[in-house]
């Protein structure tokens, strides 16, 4: 196997992994504040892409307006989901909460393509699609820009956790009861986490939508995001970055090197294998806190 091919696969894989990491960061944000894994995260990304598409194509708004509007709408949608559905489930067993987020995921996957049509929508945010050559290796410019944007956003969210609001959320994630007793409004922190996570999902949805088009398949980002979140440790944002890079690399190399051997399709199974291996060998992930109870 020649070196240039492996290098090319690795570089592109890293950028794709960073784009996955943005979805995973939203998952981690919700897990950190409320201890729930939001299995509707992929569907939220899809919804965000659909909303931005609808604002720009249906209502005719220019893209620089459609994206902020879409982010605001999705922040509201995140708040609403938490207020109307998740808050009523406080105190229920975790299986119920997981099922609820799955229910939301299925519902969104039906509602949005149902209303806006199932055909693939083109979402043009002005990222050029022509490839970039550095020496011998070809880099997909769209994924590179997408990867860099999500790197910046994830870095921003690390910085956010050092702000006042972020500090509040960290306190909530540490101990809800104790935060309550020192005057932090836990319910509000959780609601904000949902809103922020929905906006993160939206940016990921926009980036992915502009590279592969907007349709229901954006919700499949969930399984990659889960793999990244678990590998990185469910409550660690820096872990998301490293795990995102690792999973992007693994996927890209598997697609390039293994696909010719087994006849395609390894891309989709890499994430599942990584989930299973992580749970077997190191259930708390690379950077997560070791509080998972083993049975």
């Amino acid at each position: 196997m020649e070196f240039a091919l492996i290098l090319e696969l690795s570089v592109n894989g890293i950028f794709i992994g960073l784009m996955y990491a943005l979805v995973a960061a939203g998952l981690v944000l919700i897990y950190k504040t409320s201890g729930i894994a939001n299995l509707a995260q992929g569907a939220l990304a899809m919804m965000g892409a659909y909303v931005v598409w609808a604002i720009s194509a249906q209502l005719g708004a220019p893209m620089w307006l459609a994206i902020p509007l879409g982010l605001i709408v999705m922040f509201g949608a995140g708040l609403l989901t938490e207020r109307l559905a998740l808050r009523r489930m406080i105190g229920q067993p975790v299986i119920m909460v997981i099922m609820l987020t799955i229910g939301i995921e299925i519902m969104l996957r039906g509602v949005l393509p149902g209303i806006f049509g199932a055909a693939v929508k083109k979402l043009d945010v002005g990222i050029p699609n022509d490839p970039l050559f550095i020496g011998d290796i070809l880099i997909n410019r769209a994924t590179m820009i997408g990867g860099l944007i999500s790197l910046a956003l994830v870095a921003l969210s690390i910085a956010f956790f050092n702000s006042r609001l972020g500090l509040m959320m960290r306190a909530v994630s540490d101990d809800q009861m104790a935060s309550w007793s020192v005057g932090i409004r836990v319910d509000r922190a959780v609601a904000i986490a949902w809103g922020l996570s929905a906006t993160m999902a939206t940016t990921a949805g926009i980036l992915w939508g502009s590279t592969q088009g907007v349709d229901w398949s954006l919700s499949l980002l969930l399984i990659k995001a889960l793999a990244i979140a678990i590998l990185g440790g469910l409550d660690s944002i820096p872990g998301v970055l490293l795990a995102g890079v690792l999973i992007g690399l693994a996927e890209s190399l598997a697609t390039g090197l293994l696909d010719p051997l087994v006849g395609g399709g390894t891309r989709d199974v890499v994430a599942s294998v990584i989930i299973l291996l992580t749970l077997l060998l190191r259930p708390h992930g690379l950077f997560g806190r070791e509080h998972i109870e083993r049975v």
């Binding site: 299925i106 519902m107 399984i223 989709d268 599942s272």
Partner: protein, 356 residues
């Protein structure tokens, strides 16, 4: 009113321990069973094959999943994959000339072996992580089935089920296939009704409520979770075999995708966690609500001229599954079985207001 409790005085312990202590319940079960038995002669073939048969098969699958989710409290998002393993194992055996009776058991055992292998890996963690591990299992099994042509016969291929006989009766006719599915279903129902009255069922309930509390009173929670995985996967594998033999009459990888797992999970939740009756209610609602809705939409389009787009109509089932899961979890977490029980309790003491 119907479910009269007055005048029912049990004088022997075995009377009180029977499955249905009230005469009305026994009558109801007997009536339903009788209707199901005469169905091939009473109903049109089209109703039998498109409504009754899938209802029986999907209910059996939901029962198997319910043992794990309702009985032992473990999430399983890969039950479709478990059924796929059983279906493929048994169909390969049938094609090799093994009789159906053995292939059915072998399919169950194959599912149980692979299912509990994944279970052993997944059960080291719990709750949310278990959900993800089983989701990963679904994807991995999907991949293996469709990419190893020795199993699937190529990724687009369909394996035909050869003509089979069960206990000497050929299953070629629709009625025979229906009776085969019904027989397996009744077997599973009897097992599920009785398992909760055994020490195994009580151990599972203890594990479900709190696993370390169960460990404190001497129930090995890991062992019982694993056994629950084994039994539930065994049932799933058998139902997968029934599905292949009497409903699809062929197997192809796309029959056992994530969609099936989601459908089954929806059935268990909508029907009621841990309830045998609920599995039947849930299967009926999840299978037939989209059909009914589709007919209603078509009717609305014809009579009132309020047509909806083909895309919207194609996505109605997904919307409905999602909305039903969310709705039931928020407003009636114990599902349709609980609604039925509320009505039953009301009528138990009908002219009066309170039971007990």
């Amino acid at each position: 009113m119907f479910y009269r409790r007055a005048g029912i005085l049990h004088t022997r312990y075995q009377d009180e321990r029977q499955l249905w202590p009230f005469a009305f319940d026994r009558g109801l079960v007997a009536t339903v069973l009788a209707i199901l038995l005469v169905a091939p002669f009473a109903f049109d073939r089209i109703y039998l094959v498109t409504y009754l048969l899938p209802w029986i098969i999907w209910s059996s699958a939901a029962l198997g999943l319910n043992l794990l989710m309702g009985g032992a409290g473990q999430v399983h998002l890969g039950y479709g994959a478990v059924m796929g393993i059983g279906a493929y194992a048994s169909v390969h055996l049938l094609r090799a000339g093994i009789p159906l009776e053995l292939a059915l058991l072998a399919g169950g055992l194959a599912s149980a072996a692979i299912g509990s292998l994944f279970g052993a890996a997944a059960l080291r963690v719990k709750g949310l992580y278990l959900a993800m591990a089983t989701l990963a299992m679904q994807y991995i099994v999907d991949f293996i089935i469709s990419h190893f042509s020795i199993i699937s016969g190529g990724s687009q291929a369909t394996l035909q089920v050869p003509p089979v006989r069960f206990l000497g009766v050929s299953l070629a006719s629709d009625a025979a296939a229906y009776y085969f599915a019904l027989l397996i279903c009744v077997g599973i129902v009897l097992f599920m009704l009785n398992v909760r009255r055994t020490s195994f069922g009580r151990a599972l309930a203890a594990v479900r409520e709190k696993d370390y509390a169960a460990a404190v009173i001497g129930v090995d929670s890991f062992r019982f979770k694993l056994v629950a995985f084994f039994v539930s996967s065994f049932v799933g594998g058998m139902v997968g075999c029934v599905m292949a033999v009497s409903y699809y009459r062929a197997v192809s990888p796309d029959q056992f995708h994530l969609d099936l797992s989601i459908q089954l999970v929806a059935m268990v939740i909508v029907g009621g966690l841990g309830s045998v009756l609920g599995s039947f209610f849930g299967a009926a609602l999840i299978l037939f609500a989209p059909i009914v809705l589709n007919h209603a939409v078509a009717f609305g389009a014809d009579t009132f001229g309020v047509g909806i787009s083909a895309d919207l109509r194609a996505h109605l089932p997904l919307m409905l599954y999602g909305a039903m899961i969310v709705g039931f979890l928020l407003w009636e977490p114990l599902g349709l079985a609980k609604i039925y029980n509320n009505a039953r309790n009301y009528f138990m003491v009908w002219p009066l207001r309170h039971n007990r």
